[in-house]
Symmetry: D2
Subunit: 352 residues, 4 copies
């Protein structure tokens, strides 16, 4: 099979680097262009990027010259992890110019005709692309987004319960990793021996995105899920891996065993289609009293699984548990790549 040639917008950032790492040896995609919004344009990637991941920068991108994040780029589609302020316009321009845009940026997520997509949760929302093209006059191009890095972990744990029992309210308290703030991101003097009980815009994102993700696609629009969501977000001194303490109130009564079974047996479209990046178990349930832990569980199934533990009844809502996801893999670059794999399977991506 001929690979799709992809461009990466925001290639020098923490998530951009993850895109490059995760696309190494990918059977469907190969990197054809790198773009960044900063002063790195015109330099080679090796010059422009301070590689922050363990190991070396892959050799094949070192000499690629970084371009401006604007069309035309010589590629079939683009992955975007541009900063929000730039992403809004840049992604629109690419879509107008005929490029599928698979975005990790927050700019377009809440657009009424923009799929906010987790392939295991709401694969049917891809059909919004048709509405979007009609609304916006896009021809070949479109924009598809993945959720916020903490919303993904939370919603992957909520989705099986919502499908099976209905959720009426949900209380989420996150303990989020430093890499979620990008690089340089959080100052070490703020991170060491400390917790910061604030992440700008994060609580609002979790509260809003959850309703859209668990919503139903009607006549070209999403009916938000009917539930209340409360999020309090904290930054903790962890490199990777967002942890969340979660309580849920269910519409229907359920036993503790049913809740555990529903989570551990969860399989969805990416597993059925055997998408390349799909984990075998999208939700892993652990029984040890002290799991999940970021350092031990974030890399489960190459960082694409969400691990849930400490499932038990709750005094105020019905059940509580703890969920963990790798924020720059499942919560960002890996999320976008899995979205792209679903779009290939659904016929939305074509060679230029």
């Amino acid at each position: 099979m001929k690979k799709f040639r992809v461009g990466i917008l925001g290639a020098t950032g923490v998530v951009g680097q993850r895109f490059i790492q995760l696309l190494e040896g990918h059977p469907q995609f190969e990197i054809a262009a790198l773009a960044a919004s900063d002063r790195s344009q015109g330099k080679t990637y090796a010059e422009a990027c301070k590689w922050r991941l363990p190991g070396d920068m892959p050799g094949h991108v070192k000499e690629v010259v970084v371009q401006s994040p604007a069309p035309p780029l010589d590629c079939d589609l683009v992955f975007s992890s541009l900063p929000t302020d730039i992403a809004t316009d840049a992604e629109t321009q690419f879509a107008l110019a005929g490029y599928p845009v698979i975005s990790n940026s927050s700019s377009h997520r809440m657009g009424a005709d923009i799929p906010l997509l987790i392939p295991e949760v709401n694969p049917g929302h891809v059909a919004l692309i048709d509405t979007q093209r009609k609304n916006r006059g896009y021809d070949r191009g479109f924009i598809v987004t993945n959720p916020n890095c903490s919303a993904i972990a939370v919603v992957m744990a909520l989705a099986p319960l919502h499908a099976e029992f209905g959720i009426t309210s949900c209380v989420v308290t996150t303990m989020q990793a430093l890499s979620g703030a990008g690089y340089p991101g959080v100052a070490s003097l703020d991170a060491t021996d400390n917790v910061i009980p604030f992440i700008g815009g994060e609580e609002e994102k979790i509260e809003a995105e959850t309703l859209k993700l668990l919503g139903q696609l009607g006549q070209g629009i999403i009916d938000n899920a009917k539930m209340s969501v409360s999020a309090q977000c904290n930054r903790v001194n962890v490199t990777d891996g967002h942890l969340a303490s979660i309580r849920v109130k269910l519409s229907q009564s359920a036993s503790l065993d049913q809740v555990k079974e529903t989570l551990s047996s969860f399989r969805a479209v990416p597993q059925e289609l055997k998408l390349h990046s799909a984990p075998i178990r999208p939700v892993i349930v652990r029984d040890e009293v002290d799991r999940p832990q970021p350092r031990l569980d974030r890399d489960a199934e190459n960082g694409m699984s969400v691990t849930v533990g400490r499932i038990m009844p709750d005094n105020v809502l019905d059940f509580r548990f703890v969920a963990l996801g790798h924020n720059t893999i499942r919560g960002a670059a890996g999320a976008a790549i899995l979205n792209a794999e679903l779009l290939v399977a659904r016929g939305y991506l074509n060679h230029a």
Copy 2:
């Protein structure tokens, strides 16, 4: 005034060291005896104790010989931070032998006739001492306890709201410091780059102690507060300072401003009596979006204040906020010392 001569049970542990540090120069108490449950008996304190606090071990305790935690000890009262398994019997023996026992251990906290005391919250519960003495045949002795280190910070923030508006349910998620586990406590390989979503017995303690602390003393018994409490507890990589994300549902409607004002204007018995260790502001309300933080706020008013921030409306319950307290000062040794100061003021302590 002649000082009370105090014995410290569990003197070599993390909390025992805090007792010694906080009692230096105290106007009402002086250290007369040190006891510990381990192999340190018969050694001098300098030999027996690896001093873990910044600065040097106070000179006056270095040559004190560590004794067994059993009566008789040459002192007027004892502070206890014995391990739970030993505290149950040892504290009972001291009370029987006529010693007031001011305990930080969890053993007796939930006893029906044992005051579980925060002087700002439920000072009237000291009257349980009379019931206790009658029940148990104690003459001069008695047992008074302070709550769990995280429960104190949580309940000090809840108490003003409960008094003013009533609380019907409360959802607490803690991020607790390493010193709460004692020494050696948490292994560094578990703490570094990690969060542990489990602290043995902690969730149950917060849920139970909150109801007793906010309860009403009737005819010699406590009527627990009528509310639901849910606690999820996490250990984070912080040396000192327990942080809690809290949501509350109130009995009466209240505006955001009323909630803020109720918390920031809170003053109680210890402030009226000007007890030596009492903070001027038992609850400090901060307006910055990113406070409280353990490293910046744990030492507020010598570690005796609880700092609250991020007060805002909540989608699921009524309001949410973040509270922080120093776990080995306000949450342990300082709590017990303030309890002793209240008992002096109330006439429950006498020279031997």
Copy 3:
């Protein structure tokens, strides 16, 4: 005594905040003006500065309007912790305009007529001020500097040995705290679970400043000490406190006991003059096998002492030991304030 009215240049930075904290209640100095190089000019200090130290910003500076770091400022002298690129010109302008400049910046340290001063080590170097005034045509003004934050801790430990036995070579390996890089400084993703074996310019500074500090003042010039110094510098995940592993080769033979005794009995001019900020013991020698440690020893004598431990013979040089100093107190703001106190005692400071 009438207090000297001081201005602080670089008042919003990490060291500037320490100046303000350490000058609270100082018997000789009071803050009269605040200046900063950034966009904070014209704002109140409360608006301009994100206070990074535990506790609250002192109330008396909150409403002070931040000015430009250029003369005139309404004060008798200035403390400077300006960034290097700005300090060179700004400090010269203040000296020309008649202000004594007590600087923590590196810009002028190695100037041939600039005292690089540690009051315990080379108090006589203050006489360079006379040369400096003559050379540069300064009238009342002058510039005095303190060393780099790691050089101070190292040289305070070397000085007694150099005075007693002579040092011919010295090998220093530092493990330096995050606060030494200012704020935001080191990115948390670089600091957590990591060591960075590089601090720009630091190795050169230690190697050069040590020779000047231990040099002799001759006819208006410093004869550098005749020794070889090798420094390797590492950034470790510690908030405050620079630790150094040090080996020395001595000119004269000495026993281990003599080395220990020479360090622990060291007293110097600031102790004789009882300068306000002078520690009673400028060098504290500890015997425990595992001390000094940053968290336990950095605050010794209010952060003004250097703690030395693990003194033992060395296979390659003659002796080795470990030294620790608080980098933003003894290594920066406290160093400058002690310099100012010496200058008062020596008659170099006068009321404007």
Copy 4:
């Protein structure tokens, strides 16, 4: 090829777990028996071992019953990471009973007839096995050891320079990871926001082992290298990866370029024999000013390479640089496995 059936002594510890992880899918070895010195005997490995590495315990060992670390065990050879106090006797018993013992313990390292082996450094020392068998009356059995976890990283960086130019003295300052202390090892309250300038026995081990490793095998005995070695060891808040600041004085003069070239071009017997675990580049030289760093470089070539950087001239000795190795892979379990691979290649291992 028929695989060798191996037993692991000390299987439940940090290094024992690494053995199991690194032997998964190994072409020459398969795990046949697990033994441990603690109360885990008789339990299944899943019951006995708290798995501390990211990811799950390999399925194939979960049901293996943990045995006593004493012969007989049903296997062809044993890997040992037993605690020192037990290792001395236990390893001797296994060797006497005919088992090759490939040990990571320190007990036998300095025995005159025991190979202390790094395959890239002193592969010829395996011939000591013949002397050992004769001396001790071993038949099929023998003991081979690998060095201390920090000595390995240091000596791999020294060996090419020693071979090419001779080294007369070496000054090493280490910053060592928490995993080097085992589990639970260092208390988190000692590790967080701190450095501990002491690791029991470590300085002595580096100083002694280096001389033996770089020594020459003569008539059945090792002539230690003629050099002086000074080591100061510090524990830093890093999970894995020992970093060392190193200075060397050479016998022959060398240019900076020659030093760099000698290190970066270093290849040895394991590379020639293409041993399964051998890295392609045993020493990786990096040119960035701020590398190596534990978090970024410890996993180079699966954790089997040592990374060197910051090579430059030194004021006191001749050259200085920084070296990093993964302490539980290259410095422990991986070292022992590579030793075993060399022993297979040299014909010292046979099927039982």
